[in-house]
């Protein structure tokens, strides 16, 4: 069973380049196309938290280091 986790994406740090959404293996990230941050840019967010497997692909590819990754500790 894959590990569980979740990510926090800084709204002001994200520039909406969509690379994390593109490289997420479980498609749990999405780009918010309805709202913008204070720079007028769309931002990515964790749309389906149950699917996140803490693989760190998004944090590795994120150009602006806006993503923080947490992993569920083993019980």
């Amino acid at each position: 069973m894959p590990q569980k986790g979740y990510v926090e994406i800084s709204v002001e740090g994200c520039k909406g380049c969509n690379l994390c959404v593109l490289h997420c293996p479980t498609n749990c990230l999405a780009l918010n196309t309805k709202d913008t941050n204070s720079y007028g840019l769309h931002y990515a967010y964790l749309a389906e938290e149950d699917k996140c497997i803490a693989c760190m692909n998004c944090s590795v590819i994120c150009p602006d280091a806006a993503i923080t990754v947490y992993k569920k500790m083993a019980a």
Binding site: H23, P63, D64, I67, Y70
Partner: protein, 253 residues
């Protein structure tokens, strides 16, 4: 942080909390981030000196929390040579784009590599002059349209793109040459390993280390970050293959 969860990745501490001025999806910012992750992992923040160039990354000293020196256009290799010779215990890197390293600074670069100066080149090759308005660079691909080659680069008039990794790997005193990219998470992890290896080789004083980043430029390639990754895969990598071009002979430890 939620209860029962542990932190496994956060923004590297050596990368300042400032917002970088780079365009969305630019590999300059990825390179900054990976570079500072390596600095944090090796614990060399206090003894790292960077030399930033003229180009998009001219403000690198605003983002990297290590000692930085600004160099005249193209002269980063010469400045890094001076810093490394005066302070041989420091980890020195020069951070240069293709206009800086392969056009105006070719002489400095080639002679520093020929002398085997013991520092690391981080060479961002995006095949275009990003900051000044998308003009043709020495590394622009054959047929690629830029603002000064609107019908595509014509090799009959301006020659073929320069392959810097292949050129510098021929020098005897160059220890480590690798071309990396950040187009996929797997390649980004390889790139991080390459930069780490380069710094370790530099600390062992084995010779010049040279990392070329096959980069993108969504704004001047006139495409989205996603399309720029496709251009990298379909056009850049066939001409500029990724991989290790030279590494020091493996010794038993």
């Amino acid at each position: 942080m939620k209860e029962g969860y542990e932190l496994i990745y956060k923004r590297p501490e050596s990368l300042l909390q400032t917002r970088m001025h780079y365009c969305p999806g630019c590999f300059h910012s990825t390179t900054h981030k990976i570079l500072m992750e390596v600095v944090d992992e090796l614990g060399i923040k206090e003894k790292t000196v960077g030399v930033c160039p003229v180009g998009c990354s001219v403000f690198a000293y605003d983002y990297l929390d290590v000692d930085m020196q600004e160099a005249a256009h193209g002269r980063a290799a010469a400045v890094a040579t001076g810093i490394k010779r005066i302070l041989p215990d420091r980890v020195v890197f020069s951070y240069q784009g293709d206009g800086d390293l392969a056009a105006i600074g070719t002489a400095e670069t080639l002679h520093a590599c020929n002398r085997g100066e013991n520092f690391t080149f981080i060479f961002i090759n995006n095949g275009i002059y990003g900051m000044t308005g998308g003009q043709m660079a020495p590394t622009t691909l054959e047929g690629q349209k830029t603002s000064t080659s609107p019908y595509g680069r014509d090799p009959e008039k301006v020659g073929l793109p320069l392959k810097m990794c292949e050129i510098v790997s021929q020098f005897k005193r160059v220890a480590f040459v690798q071309r990396v990219s950040f187009n996929t998470p797997a390649n980004a992890r390889k790139a991080k390993k390459a930069i780490k290896t380069a710094f370790e080789i530099q600390m062992k004083k084995l010779g010049t280390t040279f990392i070329e980043v096959a980069s993108n430029c969504p704004s001047q390639w006139k495409c989205t970050p996603e399309e720029s990754l496709d251009w990298l895969t379909n056009h850049v990598f066939p001409y500029y293959p990724l991989g290790v071009f030279k590494e020091p002979p493996k010794t038993k430890e």
